[in-house]
């Protein structure tokens, strides 16, 4: 008596469909909305079902769908206009209606002017009208985004055409509406056919795109030893039912298809004037296409798995991904890249009417404006026949090939026991670096992501924006920026996931007698070198094509390369801090906000390569380096606790605290300054000093509040507000140290001022210096001086010495801590006083180091301020 009952074909289909849907819904529901550490007392990593998350996922889908419509609508509008133009203006130059009107007026005016009797007057008016003509044509040409050379060429062409034929050489181009409506598809004649053929060409990419993407790297289990289909094969369901349901699931339950292609097809039919009938038509077309793709995918999956070894299969998957991405990008590009659209329409013009009858495109005829019901029914019937026919054929062949077993051989060896090859391949890398390189070589997915994807993205951008090539070769600032951005993009997929990639192998790294953070540093170094090679090559290539190289190019190149190296560490740091090492579901491990943060930082650095201001370049370099260091300080704190769900590292004073305090200080100053300048009429000097002091005070109070609420151990001592027990440094000695260093710093400032005075060219620079100018003009009430001398140093020393310097000291020796904190300190002061303030920074840091008590640097700073103010009188 067997308890297992046979399952019918339809039931199997239904069950498999349900399985696919359920898995997809679970995946959506596991979207992590925020940093929510799963409650460790429940030993589960599964996210609970929540309606909030489901609604969020649906909302996201809605947005994507809307974007799909948007993109399709704009693209189709442009294609329609192009189709019209290509026929209308065969030999003529297409311009806007306004320009044409102006040209007609100009022509008439010139004709009149030429008949003027007076030669001089004639010349004058001709000249006037010529300039007017030039302006009009220039406006017209600059509407398109052409490079400078192309613009000049087109302008010349327009001038010649006008001189020869007048306004007859021009025709009005059909404007493309912002959104396509029911009449975007040209109604009749050659333009209609061209439009149809254009669409026919475009949709050719769909089926190959689906097949490639579905078989590519997204199909995670295709290349694994444990293949999910193998598991399903173990159920008492007929092979045919299994394969058919697999086909069905591929065809119908594929979100990307519904998000991108379904809106596009609906818009296609809509532009043909079908109105709301566009929706069922679009549905039919989408089902048809994904049915074809599903059949092909199912068959290929079975065949590939049967006849290829696992590593060959993975290589092929990488190839499929690259191809699929190229197809996808081509599709997207043809919706908003002008050169590609023009190309498509140009090709479509030459194609015969029967082109659209190919099986990948003929459903478009359902929407063709002149189609009659009979034709529509034929098309519909053919669609059904072809779709089901392909499915049947695919099923037949799939069943045929696996009739003697699902797999060629079982077991992980796949029937090959390899002989011991001459191992001990003597690589000159060892340890962590060697490991990363081996994994990169063998993991085709990683290789594609790191090497090939950046190239594809860059090619895509060049395609969409053709003036980029000319700007990159024309201006080395652009070239260096581009090299940096591409390098950073490479880093995003190689250095950022440095911890995420570890997944379940982290345990082994934790058995080695090395700090995990040092292992991670070494991994990051490998990727830094890699990205540097990439960026370096691009720089060299662009430099070769660049005709006007300037010595500043060297600075730009250095900045780009330094940036790439530094951002390797920033990317890895952000990635590590944003990864939940305990999470097993790969998608939920990494917080996507980290990518946005990284991109913002990249953009900020890229901008400073681009701008010519040396000062902001210097500032950005210092800031980024400190940021990288602060990040890694946190990483070192956190890394021993990565696999522990309950414990966190003890909160200690970090560089990050100092930097945030400095940033807050800066921002508050700006806000207060704005507020004061708008609302009061105090003299400028007073305003400046007041914003300084108030901002400093606010930051001071805020920091104290935060630190005491977070209960950081020994915080008052580490910040220098109280003396550590055991240090017997009497206050008097601290005062003396403070004054001594202050005197030294003031001396340095005096020397600096004298030196500047000696060189006449630098006087202008000095005049711009805020401090001296302000104080010379101000009335100088005594209390302002007092504030400047006493209060400002108090708060600034707290921030820069107490927080930044001590934060640095936690992880590095005094030398670098002094230099870095002095550099940061110097940066927030006006450019003129950078050098003496840098000296002051060093002096205060040293006095803090020696005395351990904030009183000393405060006195140093106060002495310096007093001397400087005194000197300037």
């Amino acid at each position: 008596m067997i308890d297992s009952r046979p399952v019918s074909f339809v039931q199997a289909l239904r069950l498999m469909a349900w399985l696919a849907v359920r898995r997809q819904i679970n995946r959506w529901q596991s979207l992590q909305l925020g940093r929510r550490k799963t409650d460790p007392s429940k030993r589960t990593g599964t996210a609970p079902k929540s309606t909030g998350r489901s609604i969020y996922s649906v909302f996201l889908l809605g947005i994507l769908l809307f974007n799909g419509f948007n993109l399709a609508s704009q693209g189709l509008g442009r294609l329609g206009a192009l189709a019209n133009n290509v026929h209308a203006s065969a030999n003529k130059i297409a311009i806007s209606a306004y320009t044409r009107q102006k040209l007609v007026e100009t022509e008439a005016a010139l004709k009149q002017v030429r008949q003027l009797p007076d030669a001089e007057e004639r010349q004058k008016y001709i000249g006037l009208w010529d300039r007017y003509l030039d302006q009009i044509l220039q406006n017209e040409v600059s509407r398109e985004s052409l490079s400078e050379d192309e613009e000049a060429a087109k302008l010349q062409r327009m001038h010649d055409a006008f001189n020869q034929q007048g306004s007859e050489a021009f025709s009005v181009e059909f404007g493309s509406h912002l959104y396509s409506g029911g009449d975007t598809w040209p109604r009749s004649g050659a333009p209609a056919l061209t439009f149809q053929n254009t669409l026919g060409l475009l949709v050719l990419t769909f089926v190959p795109m689906f097949v490639c993407l579905w078989l590519g790297m997204n199909n995670k289990d295709l290349g694994q030893v444990e293949w999910s289909f193998e598991w399903l094969y173990g159920f008492p369901v007929s092979t045919r039912a299994l394969l058919a349901s697999r086909l069905f699931v591929y065809s119908v339950f594929n979100p990307p298809v519904w998000m991108f292609i379904f809106p596009f097809l609906i818009m296609v039919y809509f532009t043909a004037g079908c109105g709301f009938a566009a929706i069922p038509l679009g549905l039919a077309a989408t089902l048809y296409l994904s049915g074809l793709a599903g059949s092909a995918t199912m068959l290929l999956e079975v065949l590939l798995r049967k006849f290829l070894s696992l590593s060959q299969l993975k290589n092929l998957q990488a190839l499929f991904t690259v191809l699929g991405t190229i197809f996808l990008l081509l599709y997207l590009a043809s919706l908003f890249s002008q050169p590609l659209e023009a190309f498509l329409v140009g090709q479509a013009k030459e194609l015969p009417a029967s082109f659209t009858w190919n099986p990948l495109s003929f459903y478009l005829l359902l929407g063709a404006p002149h189609s009659n019901p009979a034709e529509a029914m034929t098309v519909g019937a053919l669609m059904a026949v072809i779709a089901f026919g392909t499915a049947a054929v695919a099923l037949f062949f799939a069943e045929f090939f696996i009739r003697e077993g699902l797999l060629k051989s079982s077991g992980p060896y796949q029937g090959i026991r390899r002989q011991k090859t001459a191992t001990q391949s003597a690589g000159w890398l060892s340890g962590v670096a060697a490991n990363e390189m081996i994994l990169l070589r063998r993991d085709r997915n990683l290789l594609v992501q790191v090497l090939v994807s950046p190239l594809i993205v860059v090619a895509y951008y060049f395609l969409v924006n053709s003036s980029m090539i000319s700007s990159a070769t024309g201006n080395f600032h652009h070239a260096a920026t581009m090299a940096f951005v591409i390098g950073s993009y490479v880093l995003m997929s190689s250095a950022m996931p440095v911890l995420t990639r570890e997944n379940k192998t982290l345990w082994q790294l934790m058995t080695f007698p090395r700090e995990l953070s040092s292992i991670l540093v070494e991994k990051t170094q490998v990727w830094a070198v890699f990205a540097l090679l990439y960026a370096g090559t691009i720089l060299l290539v662009l430099a070769h094509f660049n005709h006007h190289l300037h010595p500043s190019a060297l600075l730009d190149a250095f900045l780009a390369l330094y940036g790439v190296g530094l951002y390797a560490f920033i990317a890895a740091g952000i990635g590590i801090m944003g990864t939940n090492a305990l999470e097993t579901e790969v998608r939920a491990r990494f917080r996507p906000e980290m990518v946005y943060l990284y991109m913002i930082l990249v953009a900020m650095y890229a901008v400073t390569i681009y701008t010519p201001s040396v000062w902001s370049k210097f500032a950005q370099v210092v800031l980024s380096t400190l940021l990288a260091y602060a990040l890694w300080q946190k990483v070192k704190d956190v890394s021993p606790y990565l696999l522990d769900p309950a414990e966190k590292p003890a909160r200690a004073l970090s560089l990050a605290d100092g930097m945030m305090a400095a940033l807050a200080f800066f921002v508050l100053q700006g806000l207060l300054g704005f507020f004061f300048s708008q609302s009061t009429s105090m003299p400028l000097a007073m305003q400046v000093v007041l914003t300084y002091v108030i901002a400093g005070f606010l930051v001071f109070v805020l920091c104290l509040a935060i630190f005491s609420s977070q209960k950081i151990p020994h915080v008052w001592q580490s910040v220098g507000l109280s003396r550590a027990p055991g240090t017997v440094m009497p206050i008097g000695k601290a005062v003396v140290i403070g004054l001594a260093y202050g005197g030294a710093a003031a001396l340095g400032a005096m020397i600096y001022l004298h030196v500047v005075d000696l060189v006449p060219q630098w006087h202008i620079w000095k005049q711009d210096a805020e401090m001296s100018a302000l104080l010379r003009r101000a009335d100088n009430p005594l209390w302002i001086c007092g504030l400047a001398v006493i209060a400002a140093p108090l708060f600034e020393e707290f921030i820069f010495r107490g927080l930044v310097f001590q934060g640095l000291r936690r992880s590095t020796g005094p030398f670098w801590a002094v230099l870095a904190s002095a550099a940061l300190f110097a940066m927030v002061h006006p450019p003129f006083s950078v050098i003496p303030v840098f000296g002051l920074g060093i002096a205060t840091a040293l006095s803090f180091q020696r005395s351990g008590f904030l009183l000393a640097p405060i006195l140093t700073h106060a002495t310096y301020n007093a001397c400087v103010i005194f000197l300037n009188h």
Partner: protein, 252 residues
């Protein structure tokens, strides 16, 4: 070895997740050259204790010391002295077995020549030779354990920590593992392993600890444990009586 301080000292070790006590107040010590077994039912806290010894988890309270060094604060030094075999070893995709061994050796500071001599006999005894050129992820479960065992013993550590070592090994490999454990103990190395195979523990160990629900239910040599229950019971009976008590909530 009488006067020597114990190699492994665990004092009131606890690991608490919120309200859930995974490990509560465990106190043990293991002297050098002994074979120590940690027995317990599923979910008793054996793996948690071992992970605290390896510095992967941070104790909520109490200390764990190996060779006088704190397992978390001085974990880098501790790992020089310890070889770890996890319950379910997971290896990198795309690395061959031989490459995993080489990487582990290099991370312990061994050169390739040294590695070769050390691992040759081990690999032959465990019959891993054929498989070393295959990708480690494609190994069967027992082979992965064998590979992890080789990686754990590469640097000849003073203490071997094995989490369910024979789980997945065939009888030949199990026998080889037992022989290896006895040989290492005879040369003065210490073995600390967790298991729920009571006959294995009975055969091999000099000292046993039984944990249940995160607490230490019994601790001592086999004779001492027998004395607690009745004179001639097998370890199985001792286990059920002791762990059963703990499971039903009464204090030992």
């Amino acid at each position: 070895m009488q006067g020597a301080p114990p190699l492994v000292e665990i004092n009131n070790l606890s690991k608490v997740y919120g309200s859930f006590e995974a490990v509560k107040d465990i106190t043990l010590s293991v002297s050098a050259g002994k074979i120590f077994a940690l027995l317990g039912p599923n979910g008793a806290g054996k793996t948690t204790t071992i992970r605290m010894l390896m510095g992967i988890l941070v104790p909520t309270s109490g200390t764990a010391r190996i060779d006088g060094l704190d397992c978390f604060q001085d974990r880098v030094e501790v790992k020089r002295r310890v070889g770890y075999l996890p319950d379910e070893p997971v290896f990198y995709d795309y690395l061959r077995g031989s490459e995993v061994i080489r990487f582990s050796g290099e991370m312990h500071g061994l050169t390739r020549q040294e590695l070769g001599t050390r691992t040759e006999s081990l690999i032959t005894r465990l019959e891993l030779g054929d498989a070393l050129e295959e990708f480690a992820v494609n190994y069967s479960k027992g082979m992965k354990k064998k590979l992890a065992l080789v990686c754990a013993m590469l640097h000849d550590p003073a203490l071997l920590i094995l989490d369910e070592p024979t789980n997945g090994l065939d009888p030949f490999a199990t026998r080889v593992l037992h022989e290896l454990i006895r040989e290492k103990a005879a040369t003065g190395k210490t073995i600390f392993f967790s298991t729920h195979l009571l006959d294995q523990a009975e055969k091999l160990c000099s000292q046993i600890a039984i944990v249940a629900k995160g607490r230490l239910a019994a601790h001592g040599t086999l004779e001492e444990l027998r004395a607690r229950v009745s004179s001639d019971s097998s370890l199985e009976e001792i286990f059920f009586s002791v762990a059963g008590e703990s499971n039903s909530g009464s204090t030992p």
